[in-house]
């Protein structure tokens, strides 16, 4: 039993006749780093959203098992408690919500669900400082409102920092590399690499191959038009960078016609 098993997943938009994911199969286990690549509009972020429990999507068919359990039965916060973490493509600014207070509540809520002791304020602050340093996040940012006035790079780094604080088993990074300059990209990748371990699986969703130069995946999946059309090793990413998605699309079309 793998950590995450997605089987024949079909997804549409709640209340609308739109079909985005058209039969996705994916298996990911702890200790693994998978990348999903694909052009705009292929359904990559929809997959991430459905995994995290966004309500505006409707699962039309198929199933998602997390640790053998039906993930779709769980509320977003229950998924977080069970160890699912989504690093947002567009982290939300929350003026007035203090980073420290929010994170303390989040950390203690997932700890409680996992049968761990609640952290005291002192323990929490120590953890906060250590993890911020580990992730290269300016600790002053934790004194501000969540993401308010953060630069693009700071927001993405803050997502990885929260990942480090919440210690999930399944981490989904939704286009964490988009909009980053090269220094920020290295910095964020560095943070992710420090968090890789045998008890945790990563699903990295990206448009470009460049982040995979720093975060080396075990498996690469190519998603086009709501389906995973090809899977392979890390060399597949390089192939895509050189040849684009068109070849894979044509191959699939030819195979379908045959």
């Amino acid at each position: 039993m793998a950590l995450l098993e997605v089987e024949n997943l079909h997804v549409g938009v709640e209340g609308e006749d739109i079909h985005i994911l058209k039969g996705v199969d994916l298996t990911l286990d702890t200790g693994e780093m998978h990348a999903i690549m694909g052009p705009n509009g292929s359904g990559k972020s929809t997959l991430a959203a459905v995994l995290a429990g966004r309500e505006e999507y409707e699962v039309l068919d198929g199933e998602i098992r997390y640790d053998g359990e039906d993930l779709l039965e769980l509320e977003p916060e229950e998924r977080a408690e069970e160890g699912v973490f989504l690093a947002f493509q567009y982290p939300v600014e929350l003026p007035g919500v203090s980073m420290t207070n929010f994170l303390k509540e989040a950390v203690n809520s997932v700890r409680e669900a996992r049968g761990q002791e609640e952290l005291s304020s002192a323990e929490f602050l120590q953890m906060l400082r250590e993890r911020a340093e580990m992730m290269g996040l300016n600790a002053d940012l934790t004194k501000r409102s969540v993401n308010e006035g953060f630069s693009g790079g700071e927001k993405k780094r803050n997502e990885i920092f929260q990942l480090a604080m919440l210690e999930p088993r399944l981490a989904i990074l939704d286009e964490t590399d988009s909009g980053l300059d090269i220094d920020a990209l290295k910095n964020v990748s560095d943070g992710v690499n420090k968090l890789r371990n045998d008890d945790r699986g990563f699903l990295v969703i990206t448009h470009y191959e460049r982040i995979l130069q720093y975060i080396v995946p075990d498996r690469v999946h190519v998603m086009i038009d709501g389906k995973i059309l090809r899977s392979g090793g890390k060399e597949l990413a390089r192939h895509l960078e050189d040849h684009g998605y068109e070849g894979i699309r044509e191959e699939a079309a030819a195979a379908a016609a045959a």
């Binding site: 973490f85 007035g96 919500v97 989040a106």
Partner: protein
């Protein structure tokens, strides 16, 4: 002695006849300047009549319906006796303050605890001040709350009995807040008209906190007029916490003036009330003044809260900040009308005004209107208004990090209020108010 208002005649006439009956007896002034204005005021009230929704300033608030009830007008000092245990829920014990308790608009010395006031500072009832400090009262009373266009200010001025009085002499600092706890009590449907006067002279500093509560389920109407004077280089912070319960209505008018280099801040929060109308008016009559007006309304059930503000810039080189926020649940209604006036020649004014509202239901309503009248050409005046729901993307973000939907919503609403709460400079008061807000929001998502 009390006077029951006859409901067979139109409400204006009830007040006018009550005035005639009591004139010269119950209404014999404590002070010449108070007594002098009564005649003019009742005459003006008779001319103006109780405002109805045909008046632009009262378009969204029907006060005449509320005033047209068989209230009792108490005109003698016979407030019901209440004791310390009655007011205990309202005392904000964490706030170390000079405390004065007013029951039905009259100071109750037995419940008050003035503590040590700096030399020369007077904190008392207005009636007492009228006798003991007639010069100060004469200099300021009736000078800022103009009744020419305000029928309810005229009505208050005609019937003035008592209220709160603060005098902080030149250069004196009152470190602890001066806390007026207003309590309504008794079984009768009362019509109360307290009158307050706060004088902070040149270079003086004071913080005044007022909290309004009720011990009765009777329908009450409180028509308050509060005047203030802030001298040169002086600093007055004023806080008003309104939480009288669902059967209490009020019109709270406060008007004042500030002089050169002074700072005047007001902060109003409304938790309950049937119909609440606040008229807050600051005149910056000096150069380099800073004026701040903040407000919060936590509306629920069928509450109706109307905040009318007026910021008059009549001298150059001043700035004013105004921020009012509403969180409206159930069928509550809020009105915000913010007027900013910059007179000819009042150059280099920087005036900012913002009103933001979250409506939690389809039945909650907000009417918001900025009103800028600018007659100077070198000024920066901005205004904005937003109305919306809780940001669902924010709620999802918090939930995805392990917070329950309930906690996420409470946190988002608290964060919305926080921008105003951060302007509370008295920590214990801010915590008290924040706690009340937290409890209210928690009750919404039980």
């Amino acid at each position: 002695m009390t006077t029951a208002l006859d409901t067979d005649v139109r409400p204006e006439d009830r007040f006018i006849s009550a005035f005639k009956v009591n004139h010269g007896q119950a209404l014999n002034g404590t002070n010449a300047s108070i007594a002098q204005q009564r005649e003019d005021a009742i005459e003006r009230f008779a001319q103006l009549g109780i405002p109805d929704s045909n008046l632009e300033a009262w378009k969204y608030t029907n006060i005449s319906k509320i005033i047209d009830r068989p209230y009792t007008l108490p005109l003698a000092p016979e407030a019901p006796s209440i004791d310390e245990s009655d007011i205990e829920p309202f005392t904000i014990d964490e706030m170390d303050a000079h405390r004065v308790v007013l029951v039905n608009g009259r100071v109750d010395p037995s419940l008050s605890d003035l503590g040590d006031l700096p030399s020369g500072v007077v904190v008392s009832s207005l009636a007492q001040a009228g006798n003991e400090h007639p010069d100060i009262v004469e200099q300021h009373y009736g000078k800022y709350a103009d009744f020419e266009d305000e029928a309810l200010t005229a009505l208050n001025t005609a019937f003035v009995q008592d209220g709160a009085f603060v005098y902080v002499p030149s250069g004196t600092i009152v470190e602890k807040p001066i806390f007026f706890l207003h309590v309504t009590a008794g079984q009768e449907d009362l019509f109360l008209q307290p009158r307050h006067l706060f004088v902070v002279e040149d270079g003086a500093i004071a913080k005044i906190v007022e909290a309004q509560h009720s011990l009765t389920d009777a329908h009450t109407f409180t028509n308050t007029v509060s005047e203030f004077f802030v001298g040169e280089r002086a600093n007055l912070e004023h806080y008003l916490v309104q939480d009288e319960g669902p059967n209490a209505s009020q019109v709270h008018t406060r008007a004042g003036t500030q002089k050169d280099d002074s700072v005047c801040s007001s902060n109003t929060i409304t938790f309950s009330g049937e119909v609440v109308r606040n008229n807050a008016n600051i005149e910056a009559d000096g150069t380099f003044c800073e004026s701040n007006m903040y407000g919060l309304c936590i509306g629920k059930d069928e509450m109706h809260v109307d905040n009318h503000t007026q910021m008059d810039h009549v001298q150059p080189d001043c700035n004013s900040n105004e921020l009012y926020k509403h969180v409206l649940n159930d069928e509550s209604t809020a009105v915000f009308n913010g007027k900013v006036l910059v007179t000819r020649g009042s150059q280099r004014i920087d005036a900012y005004q913002q009103n933001d509202t979250i409506v939690l239901t389809n039945d909650a309503q907000i009417y918001t209107k900025p009103e800028l009248e600018i007659y100077a050409d070198d000024v920066v005046c901005s205004h904005g208004a937003t109305t919306g729901q809780v940001d669902e993307e924010g709620v999802f973000y918090l939930r995805s990090r392990g917070l329950s939907e309930r906690r996420a919503r409470i946190l988002m609403l608290q964060a919305f209020c926080d921008e105003v709460l951060s302007e509370y400079k008295i920590d214990a008061l801010r915590e008290h108010v924040t706690d009340k807000i937290r409890q209210r929001f928690a009750s919404y998502f039980a």
